[in-house]
Assembly symmetry: C3
Homo-oligomer: 172 residues x 3
């Protein structure tokens, strides 16, 4: 069975950097990027992430079909999915069935034979957003994170670049 | 002495579900709901929470008087207060003395003989809100959480459905 | 070598109070305040913080030059820097080179012989802010926190008045 790890955290909490370190611990790794380069801020961030990753990485861009991306790369080393926040935003933007997609992803994770590290975000610890769309997204991401955490072997919360272990722990 | 537990976390972090599991560990439990069904979004969420809870639950709706609700049910099993975020919002909306109410609640918690589990929220880890009302609420909730945490035997932070133990720990 | 501790947390998570307790553990301490009293809300908060601190404190107001404040007080006991969130806001407001200032601060921290406790904030766990300025600040603070956490001997996350140990831990 391939180990799966979920790492969550706020913006700029160092979660991607931690995930990259873990993914390449045993050599080459595959980066599965979920973002759509929609604007220059995002293009810049993608370029920055790409520059930080070294030649040991193979990159795959997949904004929606994580099931296909994972099944298609199983057995080829660790996969890093960065990140579920954008994947969910893409699903909602395209009016896909995100709940069904999360269930499919959970089933897919459970049958992988190589490791998978998934990066997600925390967006629910501010004041309740005024916009209904933002509230829907916030609620949906919380549910996605719970479902993936339930399927994952380990869960971490990144704080200022350091990981707090959330699962497994003695109090679950 | 009745054990008291505070569980906090962001929106959709799984804190209510964790609290429900703990409250019914030893059998029947009393659910003390603080929300006012003000709009359809809230009515939906209440119905969803109610459907998830099984027949082992007795439900009590009490938007303001938690002291009365706790004293009136002491000795009847574990009580789950869900949640302090709405209780505080109700107090502020009705222009009650929320500081005094928190002090009363702390005293009440200390004299309970059956367990109490309280759910609250984290709203202070986003960007400073533009609205003074939102800033006031955010500050007030932070102070409520500190006061109740101080009185509680155990405090947990829910992350993606899993609890991180905050109190007691070795660094307090 | 002077021990350095970074404590982060949301608004009203009790981080300043925790930091004050640690700073005065071994007697007198120096409070390095970074805030500019810009409006009455801030003046109130400064007065409240000042009232809470006792006569064992010497206070220094330094909105920008933390390097000078730390070097100028080294050997005189523990220093509490409260807080990096306002220091960064001041640097950005004055259009200073905040990245360079953070590098200077890291170097300064590494050469201190008396303890330094630094308070910062978590602002990246809410919904993505609509304003580009707020997004820039949020990203910058996350990077500041990562850099200072990397230089610090210990890092804590304050939740409801209690500290969760983030560094050192077994999973870094």
């Amino acid at each position: 069975m391939g180990m799966s790890i979920l790492i969550t955290g706020g913006a700029r909490s160092g979660k991607s950097r931690l995930a990259e370190g873990w993914a390449t611990r045993d050599g080459a790794a595959i980066y599965i990027a979920t973002c759509r380069a929609r604007n220059s801020e995002m293009t810049d961030r993608i370029a920055e992430h790409r520059a930080r990753r070294g030649p040991e990485w193979k990159t795959l861009e997949e904004p929606l079909d994580l099931v296909g991306a994972l099944d298609g790369t199983d057995g080829q080393g660790a996969r890093l999915v960065d990140c579920l926040t954008l994947w969910l935003a893409n699903l909602m933007e395209d009016e896909r069935d995100w709940q069904g997609s999360v269930e499919d992803l959970v089933r897919t994770l459970r049958r992988q034979t190589s490791p998978v590290i998934l990066v997600t975000g925390e967006v629910g610890s501010g004041i309740v957003p005024a916009s209904p769309l933002a509230r829907d997204y916030r609620d949906a991401l919380g549910l996605v994170n719970q479902s993936i955490a339930d399927a994952a072997d380990e869960v971490y919360l990144a704080v200022a670049g350091y990981p707090l272990k959330v699962k497994p722990n003695a109090f679950g």
